[in-house]
Amino acid sequence: MTHGKEHPAYLAHHFSEVEQQQESAKLGMWIFLLTEVLLFGGLFCFYTIYRAWNPDMFYNAHKFLNVELGALNTVVLISSSVTMALAIRSMQLNDRKKTIWFLVITLACAAIFLVVKYFEYSHKFHLGQLPGKFYTFTGVQGNNPHIFFSVYFTMTGLHGIHVLAGMVAISWVLYRTVKNNFSAQYYTPIEMTGLYWHLVDLIWIFLFPLLYLIG
């Protein structure tokens, strides 16, 4: 307003330029991602310390995770990251149709991820490989194997909640893309959702080897 330039509808009153608004959003998003890293940080610390205390138990217990399903989920999530990135790229090129398609694929991948997780979880529930005091499985050698499953469920559980939240965010930007809210000039919400989604992927990239491969 101060500049007397025309100001588009998406420019909030307290910013003077679109540029400033976009960069603020991005900065805010990155700081938010930082808090997410530290939120998961507590769980990584949990993992590291108990693994260092009971390496053998962790090793024995991790064999009960299904590497194939874990790997499948890794592939699914990585693919969804690619399509997410491409969705943004298409928007930058003003190709709204493609953006919509890529977002839909991303959403589908997220859903596949959760379905696979569902099967993994229900199999474990069935065997009594439950966290904490509900643990009734007897096949793991070593002290306190229930702790491994506590780690497994808290880490993948919190991650799963993030996937779910990501799906909500993606659906929302998808809806807004369909409603033609975005253009090559303004697509900040998609970009933010993308950043979030890549972080969710990034965390999984660590969870997969830590839990499934090396216990």
Partner: protein, 541 residues
């Protein structure tokens, strides 16, 4: 609102109506909403404090049984920490002045700002709920395994604290982005008022440390519900690990409490000594240094917890390093008084009280940071006295100073200087009577969180309780004249203190959008050496 103030269009009267307040996106209104919520929390926490002191007047039962006492000190601690002191300066005063100091129209994310207030209320609701269901009795630290086995409402209180954490994170995030992106054209980092620097350092701690509190409390809840076995020894867990997790947040949190206070003190001393601040760079930089080091000292709360001697050594060493930037600040403030023109208006009285009390509080931190002496002093009243000196004597004094300093800006009216001075003196005296005795109690071995105590401690406890009444009286006086001034105070004018930061270029109360045009900087925030001291100085007002 009456007379001339009502005529001017300002953020208080435009637009009107309760709904416009509850849905406001204006940082000033959100600041005021926070202020109300925070003052309410402080008085609630204060009432619990008075109950504690009443019960401790004599050994044995005075007014409540041990269960109730344990709940009362837990609620006192939890309310004071999570509901009052952490949000106090940043969310209330910071919200109100930060954008104005930067010459901005608002914070970067106004909606997030309002959301954080509602999240605060929501968290407070949980905390209050846990007060009325079987109140928590774990102490504000929620140590396991006690917190996993007590039958009281630990879950609702920890969920409350968890939610309040998000409110704090969002405030911090908002401030960082605002400071980075919304400074007035031409305002460099070196021209930021020191309060802004302090808020910046605080915000960094808020976003880095609070998530860990979040996950800790979540794990605690999971421990209670599922027995996941991370913290509960019966389930194969390690209670000392809980302490690491808790203090990784809660030590940095003490600097979330003090840094904004230090920022206010920098403003007050410069304004009321009417003098260019001494060592601007040193003060700004030491805030960042404190913020960084504060992450690496948490283990000093655990010197006798059974942690390894190696860890104790490292934590003790780093603890001392925090003392140095704090000392640098204190000495720079002192030096700012040199060759100034010192006015003793109420805010300055609080600033000087801060210097006096924080120095005591900080220096007693050194006794606690030293390994051998902490073994004796840990979990005694010495610690209680230490942290009240830094929190009440430090942060709360700064907060009160800030309230009195910005009060005319917030409401457009002056409070009674006479009554304000009386209250300030009562608070100062009452505070020292209450808490200095506790240093002696502590060194003599009186443990904290004790409902009952040996007769030998009685005289000092009684003395301390008497102090708390003086303190309470001071606050009642303060409450009365402050509320009175909102309606009856004389109009304040835009810049009653002759201060140079940007918020004072606005009218009082400021217009809804702060600035029509982005302000043009004509001088730095502390160029008092270029401005004549005004004659009708506020000291005599």
């Amino acid at each position: 609102m009456s007379e001339n103030i009502a005529l001017a269009r300002n953020y208080l009267n435009t637009p009107r109506g309760l709904k416009s307040w509850l849905l406001t996106l204006d940082h000033k209104r959100i600041g005021v909403l926070y202020l109300i919520a925070i003052m309410a929390s402080f008085f609630l926490g204060g009432v619990f404090a008075l109950l504690i002191r009443w019960e401790l007047l004599n050994p044995g039962r005075d007014i409540m049984g041990p269960d109730t006492y344990n709940q009362v000190f837990t609620l006192h601690g939890a309310i004071m920490i999570f509901l009052f002191i952490i949000p106090s300066i940043p969310a209330a005063l910071g919200n109100f002045v930060l954008p104005q100091m930067l010459g901005a129209k608002d914070v970067a994310f106004p909606r997030l700002n309002l959301a954080s207030w509602y999240i605060y209320l929501f968290g407070a609701l949980f905390a209050v709920y846990s007060m009325f269901s079987s109140a928590v009795d774990t102490g504000w630290t929620f140590y396991t395994p006690y917190s996993t086995e007590t039958t009281t409402s630990v879950i609702s209180m920890t969920m409350g604290a968890f939610i309040l954490g998000f409110s704090s994170i969002f405030t911090g995030l908002n401030f960082i982005v605002t400071i980075h992106k919304l400074r007035a054209p031409g305002m460099t980092w070196r021209q930021l008022p020191l309060f802004v620097w302090a808020l910046y350092a605080t915000a960094i701690i808020q976003v880095l440390a609070t998530p860990v509190l979040g996950i800790t409390l979540l794990l605690l809840v999971l421990e209670r519900v599922f027995g996941i076995g991370i913290f509960d020894p019966a389930m194969g867990g390690d209670p000392v690990l809980y302490q690491h997790f808790f203090w990784f947040y809660s030590h940095p949190a003490v600097y979330i409490m003090i840094l904004p206070g230090m920022g206010i003190i920098s403003e007050l001393i410069a304004v009321f000594a009417h003098r260019k601040i001494f060592g601007y760079n040193a003060i700004a930089f030491s805030s960042l240094a404190i913020a960084f080091i504060s992450f690496l000292v948490w283990g000093h709360h655990m010197f006798v917890s059974g942690q390894s001697p190696l860890a104790a050594m490292i934590f003790s060493f780093l603890t001392f390093l925090v003392g140095i930037p704090s000392g640098i600040k204190v000495f720079n403030w002192l030096a700012t008084l040199y060759k100034g023109s010192i006015s003793f208006a109420t805010p300055m009285l609080y600033a000087l009280s801060f210097l006096f009390l924080f120095t005591i509080g900080g220096l007693t931190g050194i006794f606690l940071g030293a390994l051998a002496t902490d073994v004796h002093l840990h979990d005694t009243y010495f610690v209680v006295a230490h942290f009240h000196y830094v929190m009440m004597g430090g942060t709360v004094m700064a907060f009160l100073g800030g309230i009195h300093y910005w009060w005319p800006k917030i409401w457009g009216r002056m409070y009674s200087e006479f009554w304000a001075k009386i209250a300030a003196v009562l608070v100062f005296i009452g505070f020292n009577v209450t808490f200095f005795t506790q240093f002696i109690l502590g060194t003599k071995g009186m443990p904290r969180r004790y409902y009952n105590y040996l007769d030998q401690y009685q005289p000092l406890h009684a003395f301390s309780s008497i102090g708390s009444w003086i303190l309470g009286l001071g606050f009642v006086v303060m409450l009365v004249y402050l509320l009175h001034s909102i309606y009856r105070g004389r109009p304040a004018g835009s810049n009653p203190w002759g201060a140079l930061t940007l918020e004072w270029t606005n009218s009082s109360p400021p217009p809804p959008e702060n600035f029509d045009e982005a302000p043009v900087l004509t001088h730095g925030p502390y160029d008092y050496d270029k401005v004549l001291v005004e004659e009708g100085s506020p000291a005599r007002a």
